[in-house]
């Protein structure tokens, strides 16, 4: 089987700081991949390079067998890479419904026969809201939702894009334990139709969901293995797990 996503020698510096340093990385279709590492390890920068929010200094990114290194972000999204922001970035003044509708509207432009149908749009928006448990908040202004619900709205917008690769940047940060349980179920469900790349601090979430775990430290990927092997890995324990998850 060929990987859905590969990076080779992917690098990005900020001034003198090597935020991402020659990372080789592969994700298989259908996989749930967790990316862990201490704050400042370069995780957000790494996935930002993948989705095109920021440009790479060196290296190459392939998605579905195609070189996407030089594609602008919006074209990567159209190829099926959806990104949910670490710092919640919904349209605060618009309703939850309108937030998701913007995502649905975009994906419907690719299928011209559905272009005119506002009923189809409504159906798809409500489906994404229902899957994330937000359907009774459709009319609420996004900025007035609780933090946890805003995180879910981010996920709903990602889902509405019908992505092949869904990148989630610390989605459980700030969620309650009960919300996290629901969230794990949601990711399992999403993974039936999409590959998931999950940056996550909560080790319980990682251990329950991930097929493989990649560990970042100081811009480098220092390990890449199954959850059990990662737990036993002395290098990882030293670099990260030993200190306990930092928030």
């Amino acid at each position: 089987m060929t990987p859905l996503l590969t990076t080779r020698g992917l690098s990005r510096s900020f001034g003198g700081l090597k935020a991402v340093d020659k990372v080789d990385f592969d994700v298989m279709p259908g996989e749930i991949r967790a990316v862990i590492g201490p704050n400042g390890a370069g995780k957000t920068t790494f996935v930002s390079l993948i989705c095109g929010r920021i440009g790479a200094d060196a290296g190459r990114i392939d998605f579905d067998g195609q070189d996407i290194t030089d594609l602008p972000a919006y074209q990567r999204v159209r190829k099926g890479i959806a990104y949910t922001f670490q710092i919640t970035s919904v349209f605060a003044k618009l309703s939850a419904y309108d937030n998701v509708a913007l995502a649905v509207q975009r994906s419907m432009l690719d299928t011209p026969d559905a272009r005119q149908s506002s009923k189809a749009l409504r159906g798809k928006v409500m489906e994404a809201l229902r899957r994330t448990g937000l359907e009774d908040r459709a009319d609420a202004q996004a900025g007035t939702l609780s933090y946890g619900h805003q995180r879910l709205l981010e996920v709903a917008m990602g889902l509405a894009l019908k992505p092949r690769l869904l990148i989630l940047d610390e989605p459980t940060q700030g969620l309650s334990d009960a919300e996290i349980v629901d969230f794990i179920a949601l990711i399992r469900e999403i993974a039936k139709t999409a590959t998931v790349l999950l940056i996550e601090h909560n080790m319980q979430v990682v251990m329950q969901l991930a097929h493989r775990v990649s560990v970042f430290e100081a811009g480098r990927m220092i390990a890449d293995d199954t959850p059990d092997a990662i737990r036993e890995n002395p290098v990882v324990q030293h670099a990260y797990l030993g200190d306990g998850p930092d928030e």
Binding site: R53, Y74, R78, S89, V90, F91, A92, L102, L109
Partner: protein
């Protein structure tokens, strides 16, 4: 689809304006014809400023492109008014495309400054080419050129009623185009760009292309207003390309509600009478205008209709 309520309101406004043609005394009839043309200018501006969130300080150049694009061929080539009108619009489209390609490399304050600089260049070019443009003094259009042959019917643009009706027709087209655009998927993308451009891009939208279209539509509508002004009122002058005419549509939009369809027109009407009435009483009228504007911004921060929408009528487009 925009709501039935919204459409009814817009139709009612047009019917009211039509009725006013028969009711208004001569002076106010003339004012309203002029204000309707300015309102088209205001709407073109507000589409970009209010909906896409791009604050331009150079829109006088699009108004003037339409004005001179229409008036110069009449003056030098003896073109008829309808043809000149098309030429004015084409000039605005071409200029706005060029400006969009250059100015959209910037955002925020830089965009304001870049658009202002281009408008200044445009203004100075009009002055520089005074032998053809008659510079600051401007020029009046030949009366003969303003009598239009519409399928055998002669329409005299110097006739107040003809002038009013043509201004109303242009206003109607602009208003319903605006209503259509802002309630379309494209309009929603513009609002999304205004609210959070990076998020919009990460939903798969080419934000540059959307902004480009917004600038061109905006510039074209403003040029249509400029061309209509030249042909209806028979005059073109460099004053219309000056900074003042870049600030005015901004004030009109702010006053009436920049992110509303009817607000910019209301703002233009309000401002016209404000200046008209206060200048009749005192030479320090700009002071009063300034104070009133400040009060309005304090109590109606989103403009008259923008604030009305927030408080009473959420359905206002």
């Amino acid at each position: 689809m925009s709501g039935a309520k919204a459409i009814s309101l817009h139709v009612a406004v047009i019917i009211l304006l039509f009725a006013l043609n028969f009711l208004l005394p001569e002076y106010h009839h003339g004012v309203l014809a002029r204000v309707m043309v300015f309102a088209v200018f205001a709407m073109g501006y507000a589409l970009l400023f209010g909906y896409a969130g791009l604050l331009s300080l150079g829109h006088s150049m699009f108004f003037a492109a339409g004005m001179y694009g229409a008036a110069l061929p009449v003056l030098h080539l003896g073109w008829s008014a309808p043809l000149a009108f098309v030429a004015g619009i084409a000039a605005g489209t071409a200029l706005s495309l060029l400006i969009a390609l250059l100015a959209l490399r910037t955002t925020g304050v830089a965009f304001m400054i870049v658009t202002m600089m281009f408008a200044q260049v445009f203004y100075l070019a009009i002055i520089y080419f005074s032998p053809w443009t008659r510079g600051d003094e401007g020029f009046a259009l030949d009366r003969q050129a303003r009598i239009v042959d519409l399928g055998g019917n002669l329409v005299d643009l110097t006739n107040p009623t003809a002038r009013y009706m043509i201004a109303l027709l242009l206003f109607t087209i602009a208003l319903f185009t605006m209503l259509r655009v802002v309630t379309s998927p494209f309009g929603r993308v513009l609002v999304a760009i205004r609210e959070n451009e990076e998020r919009t891009r990460m939903l798969g939208y080419n934000t540059f292309a959307n902004k480009l279209v917004a600038v061109v539509v905006s510039g074209t509508v403003c040029a249509a207003a400029g061309a209509a002004y030249a042909l209806l009122f028979g005059f073109a002058g460099a004053g219309f390309a000056s900074v003042q005419y870049s600030i005015l549509p901004l004030l009109w939009s702010l006053l009436g509600g920049a992110a509303t369809t009817l607000g910019p027109a209301l703002g233009a009407l309000f401002m016209y009478y404000l200046v008209d009435i206060t200048s009749g009483y005192t030479s320090a009228y700009l002071l009063f205008v300034g104070i009133l504007l400040m009060l309005l911004v304090l109590f109606f921060p989103k403009g008259i209709l923008g604030t009305a929408r927030d408080r009473w009528a959420r359905w206002l487009p």
